[in-house]
């Protein structure tokens, strides 16, 4: 099995995603977006970065690129797709997941540690955790505030498609623990299928033991969970 990490012109966490997956023994390769998805793709990472420079809305241009049509088709076939940071923005812009990630409440870029509470442990991406677990995973974004209409938010919530919420070190979901003003402190959500997930925090930055937290490993192991299912 080989996980494809899609590299757009402005991707910058593509090497990191490959590095972190490889550390976990998951075979992964960077694929230039214009080359299209390889046939043997068993999983897809939309990595962080600034895809097309993001001079328009973050992810808006990438969502309209040919490779994303292939990613959508693969997702519909059950190929697991994980969008991280800019990949999450692209995922929303593409309609793989509901809602949108927009400018932080601070109106500034924020690179810092965040605590995430696991809201649904019954997904490939969270099987390694228990519901209510608190993970320490860094964020690094200027447009990470999750926004969605009230009704659709209720639906996401009731269908268990909220994957992670920002919380404090003890797992309390509070305004103070919300780094970017996201609705409902939402940090990551599932698509229509639970094999599709997007999140703003960077699990690949919380994987290698020599960088501190390894709490993000379980998210990346979602690719194993799906292929073994």
């Amino acid at each position: 099995m080989t996980v494809t990490v899609v590299q757009f012109g402005g991707s910058n966490c593509d090497r990191d995603a490959v590095g972190a997956l490889s550390h976990l023994g998951i075979d992964a390769e960077r694929v230039w977006h214009e080359d299209g998805l390889p046939e043997d793709t068993t999983g897809i990472v939309l990595p962080g970065g600034f895809s097309y420079g993001d001079y328009l809305r973050a992810g808006a241009m990438a969502a309209r690129s040919p490779v994303m049509a292939e990613v959508r088709a693969a997702a519909e076939d059950g190929v697991p797709v994980l969008g991280v940071c800019n990949g999450a923005q692209i995922g929303c812009e593409t309609g793989l997941t509901d809602g949108a990630f927009t400018t932080n409440a601070s109106a500034r870029f924020q690179c810092e540690n965040a605590y995430l509470r696991v809201e649904n442990a019954d997904t490939p991406w969270t099987r390694a955790y228990d519901e209510g677990d608190v993970l320490s995973v860094p964020i690094a974004h200027g447009e990470g505030r999750f926004e969605i209409g009230e009704e659709r938010y209720e639906r996401l919530d009731s269908e268990g498609r909220v994957l992670f919420r920002y919380c404090d070190a003890d797992g309390n979901v509070t305004d103070d623990a919300n780094p970017n003003g996201s609705r409902g402190n939402v940090a990551g959500v599932l698509g229509e299928r639970d094999t599709v997930a997007v999140l703003m925090p960077h699990p690949e930055r919380a994987t290698l033991p020599d960088l501190g937290s390894t709490d993000g490993q379980g998210v990346l192991r979602g690719f194993e969970a799906v292929s073994n299912a």
């Binding site: 690179c111 860094p138 690094a140």
Partner: protein
């Protein structure tokens, strides 16, 4: 600004004719202070730039240094200033500074892995300062984050001398497998010169000469056209394209386009190979219609590289540039004659009608500028006149001074983690980057430690001694994370050198840095000079930004946060004076600069050893703000300390080369420093989250929340 009469006469004599307008403009830019170091070159011989690990020293786009502990990986080091542009247009000025130093890294064949930014502004209480700070930080954040190079360190200082002239000094470290080295030395006549990257427009015309004058009162409006606008998305594709070109071994030599644009890069490239070039300027891919040859030559449009490519490889270079959606033009070739530029004559683009607009020896452009012999006045150290200040008020003023306060507001806006190498993050004494490529089967990889900065109060008080202290302070930061210094690059900023007092101060910082780096056995492998940082508000303090790297085995360091369980020791010799201190800056008064240790290396080695010792729980160097700030910074929610010192002098003395160590094994530490430097037991750490200080017969006490409130002054003033 136009070519000086004496330069014009010299060029006329060399060429045997009057220079063409294009030639005159090239000379004006390439012979400017910014490019030719005319006032500083006579001083720069003070630096030792050679050493066991130096592969490429000063003079190329970036220096190359081998890594102890690795046979096949080198690093590149470069630093540059973007001072004038950052005043005129803080966002774009600072952003393009990042872009430039990253391309200097690419052109050596390296991949950029870390940036540091040292920023200097006028008083933080002024609204204009905060506007500049916000713009500069946002510009660095925008550009650096987008291109995926982590900004892992640097410094931010405030001093009234930067009121009309802030400084932005950006350093970049690259990683270079040793078989990929490319230099800016042109190889062989007949090879093609290929321009890859953004299209050329009329932006940044005359930036090099603009950077070589004092800033006028109306600079913010008048000079805006001389500031370039960056496109980090193009830079990111250029980084990836450069990698792809290196993967296929297609680059024979390379130079990035910076000051003086294409004219600068291409002439320097061939001059270094003792060769010439023929360039057809109209072949340059352009963004605007009807550009004149002079504009094409000198525009400082960003995100462009000039490559020397073998004729048979040109097509492949074109293909790879197209893959990354970058423009590519074959603009001419390397020759063994003069540096020649042509342009279609008035009759159109028929080759027979081409006009030669430049025809000069490349080395005359690159190296022909005469140096300036300037007068210098000797700086005088202040006398001791210490204030009788209230201890508590002084402590709070020093801890809450914007220069010593928390810089989290700044580095939180920088992506400092992208690349998965940042093992020790900003906010600690030095960043440590994991060079995983050097890992062996059973052993640790090389941890690359970085520290960058200068303390303007120090060099304003005593240029020579202050600059020595800056070098020692950066080396101490490295020692605090267990690293041994390897090499450094400097960015020397000064005012108008034609003023003898300014030139004397500048000479002081050059000699001071050079002498201390020599004492520390740290080769200074490259650098940048920025003069004429003079505005209506006066000259800046002479500012010797140093970016120093060191190495250690493995990536982990104890960090500066207390554990709450050990004894607190102060190691290293205090200089016993307060000149240049934040204490005097806030309370008034004057003093000489503290005496520095004669032989600092044994102390630094001992600090590095202690940082790696088993019983060591925390290490934090003592520098600006003295012990007062160092101790305040170590307190956390869960850990506090109680400590005692003799007097205010001991609390606020800023002598570098010292560190606070929290240890469970104070005897071993004391033993390690026996015969090396002083060890003073300050007190002990505890689980209180409080700072309790006894100073003579007075005492101070602060909780972590109060300390955080004091230290958070930047965020309070900006959010």
């Amino acid at each position: 600004m136009s070519l000086a009469d004496s330069d014009h006469d010299l060029i006329r004599a060399e060429l045997g004719r009057d220079p063409t307008p294009e030639e005159a403009a090239l000379f004006e830019n390439l012979w400017s202070e910014h490019c030719a170091y005319r006032s500083s070159r006579p001083l720069l011989g003070a630096f030792d730039s050679e050493g066991e690990h130096v592969v490429v020293g000063p003079g190329d786009d970036a220096a190359v240094v081998s890594l102890p502990g690795s046979d096949d990986h080198w690093i590149t080091l470069g630093i540059e200033s973007h001072n004038h542009p950052s005043y005129v247009d803080p966002f774009d000025g600072a952003a393009t500074g990042v872009g430039g130093i990253v391309r200097d890294t690419l052109s050596m064949g390296a991949y950029p892995i870390a940036l540091t930014d040292s920023l200097y502004f006028g008083g933080f209480d002024r609204e204009h300062t905060r506007y500049l700070l916000e713009g500069v930080v946002e510009g660095i954040s925008h550009y650096g984050n987008c291109i995926g190079v982590p900004t892992v360190g640097g410094s931010v200082a405030f001093h009234e001398g930067y009121e009309g002239n802030p400084l932005v000094n950006v350093a970049c470290v690259g990683l270079l497998p040793s078989d990929r080295l490319v230099t800016a030395v042109a190889q062989e006549p007949g090879n093609k010169l290929v321009l890859v990257g953004n299209a050329t427009g009329r932006d940044g015309l005359g930036g090099a000469s603009f950077a070589s004058e004092d800033l006028a009162e109306d600079a913010e409006t008048e000079d805006r056209p001389a500031v370039q606008v960056g496109d980090p998305y193009a830079e990111k594709r250029l980084i990836e394209c450069n990698e792809a070109l290196l993967d296929e071994d297609l680059l024979l030599s390379a130079r990035d386009l910076g000051a003086a644009g294409l004219g600068g890069a291409s002439s320097e490239l061939v001059a270094k190979g003792d060769l010439g070039a023929r360039i057809d300027l109209d072949r340059v891919h352009q963004r605007e219609p009807n550009m004149s040859p002079l504009e094409i030559l000198l525009a400082e449009s960003q995100e462009r590289m000039c490559y020397e490519v073998a004729p048979e490889d040109v097509e492949r270079v074109r293909e790879l540039a197209a893959r990354f959606d970058l423009g590519c033009s074959v603009i001419g070739e390397v020759t063994d004659g003069n540096y020649v530029c042509t342009f279609p004559g008035e009759d159109g683009d028929d080759n027979l009608e081409r006009e030669t607009v430049v025809d000069v020896p490349a080395e005359l452009l690159a190296d022909g500028a005469p140096t300036n012999d300037l007068d210098s006045g000797d700086p005088v150290q202040p006398e001791r006149d210490l204030p009788d200040a209230d201890l508590g008020e002084a402590f709070e003023a020093v801890v809450a001074s914007p220069s010593t306060a928390s810089k989290r507001w700044v580095y939180r806006q920088y992506d400092h983690e992208v690349g998965l190498r940042t093992a020790v993050e900003p906010g600690d004494d030095a960043a440590v980057m994991a060079i995983r490529e050097t890992e062996t089967g059973d052993g640790n990889g090389v941890g690359l430690a970085l520290s960058a900065g200068a303390v303007p109060n120090w060099t304003a008080c005593a240029p020579y001694e202050g600059a020595r202290a800056v070098a020692l302070e950066n080396a101490t930061n490295l020692a605090a994370v267990g690293a041994t210094p390897l090499a450094a690059v400097d960015c020397l900023n000064g005012g108008n050198p034609e003023k003898p007092a300014v030139y004397g101060g500048f000479k002081g910082i050059v000699d001071g840095l050079a002498d201390m780096c020599r004492d520390l056995s740290v080769p200074v492998v490259g650098g940048n000079v920025s003069l004429y940082n003079d505005s209506v508000a006066g000259p800046i303090p002479p500012t010797p930004t140093l970016a120093m790297v060191g190495t250690r085995e493995g990536y982990s360091a104890p960090g500066s946060a207390l554990s709450g369980e050990g004894t607190l020791l102060l190691v290293g010799d205090a200089g016993g004076a307060l000149g240049g201190s934040e204490y005097l800056a806030t309370t008034g008064g004057s003093d000489r600069f503290p005496a520095l240790p004669e032989t600092p290396t044994p102390t630094l080695r001992a600090i590095a050893d202690v940082a790696d010792a088993e019983g060591t729980l925390a290490v934090h160097d003592v520098s600006d703000g003295g012990l007062a700030v160092a101790l305040a910074e170590m307190v956390t929610d869960d850990a506090g300390l109680s400590a005692a010192v003799d007097d205010a002098l001991a609390l606020f003395d800023e002598t570098p080369g010292r560190a606070v160590v929290e240890t469970t094994d104070p005897e071993s530490v004391t033993e390690r420093f026996d015969g090396v430097a002083d060890v003073v037991e300050l007190g002990s750490a505890d689980g209180s989250g409080r700072l309790e200080l006894t100073v003579g017969d007075e005492s101070l006490e602060y909780g972590v929340a109060e300390i955080r409130e004091l230290r958070d002054v930047l965020a309070q003033g900006l959010d």
